[in-house]
């Protein structure tokens, strides 16, 4: 048990290295002017906002900046009234 913990401790530097590489890749892109993920987030919400009254408190955004892929999860609560209207017309 203690041996295993010792072994784990020894491995912390490679973790630090990898975390830094991923983080800095994103931060450098940001200071370059555009943060694609943030731009996407704003534009997607704007498009939805055109058709639905968006309650910003009911929008959940999860972001995971990773390597090689980042994920952006946008969870929008659409009022049921609109959904009924959409079904009715469709």
């Amino acid at each position: 048990m203690s041996l295993l913990m010792l072994f784990r401790r020894r491995d912390s530097a490679p973790v630090a290295r990898e975390r830094l590489q991923v983080l800095l890749a994103h931060e450098r892109a940001m200071t370059g002017g555009t943060d694609l993920i943030s731009v996407l987030q704003e534009e997607i919400l704007a498009v939805i906002g055109k058709h639905v009254t968006l309650d910003r408190d009911k929008v959940q955004i999860k972001l995971d900046r990773g390597d090689p892929v980042s994920t952006l999860e946008i969870d929008v609560e659409v009022p049921s009234l609109l959904r009924a209207a959409a079904f009715g017309s469709g």
């Binding site: 401790r9 020894r10 491995d11 912390s12 530097a13 490679p14 630090a16 290295r17 975390r19 830094l20 590489q21 983080l23 800095l24 931060e27 450098r28 200071t31």
Partner: protein, 273 residues
């Protein structure tokens, strides 16, 4: 041609002031005329590390605002006649540093000295940007630790965009000074290795300063480590870094894990005795 060098890091506590004092003294020991300038307005400490805290009369802000002439504010080192200190103000705030005033003073210092070493405050606010503003080269002080490396990366970005040199479309030469390095821990995989930090920040290495009790001892005594104990491992590393700063090609000695701990033990015993 005078060289203006900013010693910067973003993060606090990584060894900017210690490195400014040691590099400045090492250059002076090599015969260059040097001034070390404290830009940490409000939290000055270079005077203390240099052992000149009781001799401060006027400071950088007094000169910026025209209340004192530059020669009145410069403090000559008692050990090295070709080393001087321009202290920061302890009472004023960083807003008193005007771009015009700083430019004028750097210009005056260029006429008097071969080397102007600017000790930057931590952070990325006015004090830090003023310290790097007129630099010809930068020494980025970094510890092999995640937050320090991240902040150094940020500072490198600022050096490449917010300095006079960058705005004129010129390249800012940047040098990495890895401080408080513990080769034993790096070898065990507990600390980022030199290669890791170099690969991540991708700027050339100026030197590796081993973690050592001699650094604290030097600041206790108010003496740059290259003067307090020139034979010690950190002093030798700083002396070599200073030579590289002058453009000399010297092989970088990466402190061997085994040897550092042996030397460490040796110093430990001597301190007890």
């Amino acid at each position: 041609m005078a060289q203006v060098v900013v010693v910067t890091s973003g993060k606090g506590g990584v060894g900017k002031t210690t490195s400014t004092a040691a590099l400045g003294a090492a250059l002076a020991q090599g015969g260059e005329s040097v001034v070390v300038v404290d830009f940490d307005v409000g939290l000055r400490n270079l005077d203390l590390v240099m052992g000149a805290e009781r001799r401060v009369v006027f400071d950088l802000i007094n000169v910026v605002q025209g209340d004192a002439k530059l020669p009145q504010a410069l403090i000559r080192d008692k050990r090295l006649e070709n080393l001087a200190l321009l202290p920061a103000s302890q009472t004023r705030d960083k807003e008193a540093l005007t771009p015009e005033g700083v430019e004028r003073i750097i210009g005056e210092l260029r006429d008097k000295f071969d080397w102007i070493i600017c000790d930057s405050p931590a952070g990325i606010e006015r004090g830090a940007t003023m310290a790097m503003r007129h630099a010809d080269a930068a020494v980025v002080v970094t510890n092999a630790e995640v937050s320090s490396v991240r902040d150094s990366d940020r500072i490198i970005g600022l050096l490449d965009s917010k300095t006079a040199k960058a705005e004129n479309g010129q390249k800012m030469p940047k040098h990495l000074l890895l401080t408080r390095y513990d080769a034993t821990r790096a070898a065990r995989g507990e600390m980022l290795k030199t290669e890791d930090v170099l690969e991540i920040l991708s700027i050339p290495l100026l030197g590796i300063i081993p973690e050592s009790q001699e650094v604290l001892r030097a600041s206790n005594l108010g003496s740059p480590v290259t003067l307090s104990n020139p034979a010690s491992a950190p002093a030798r590393a700083y002396a070599e870094a200073a030579k590289r700063l002058k453009g000399e090609q010297i092989q970088i000695s990466i402190p061997a894990a085994q040897r550092t701990s042996f030397i460490g033990k040796l110093f430990g015993r001597r301190a007890v005795a």
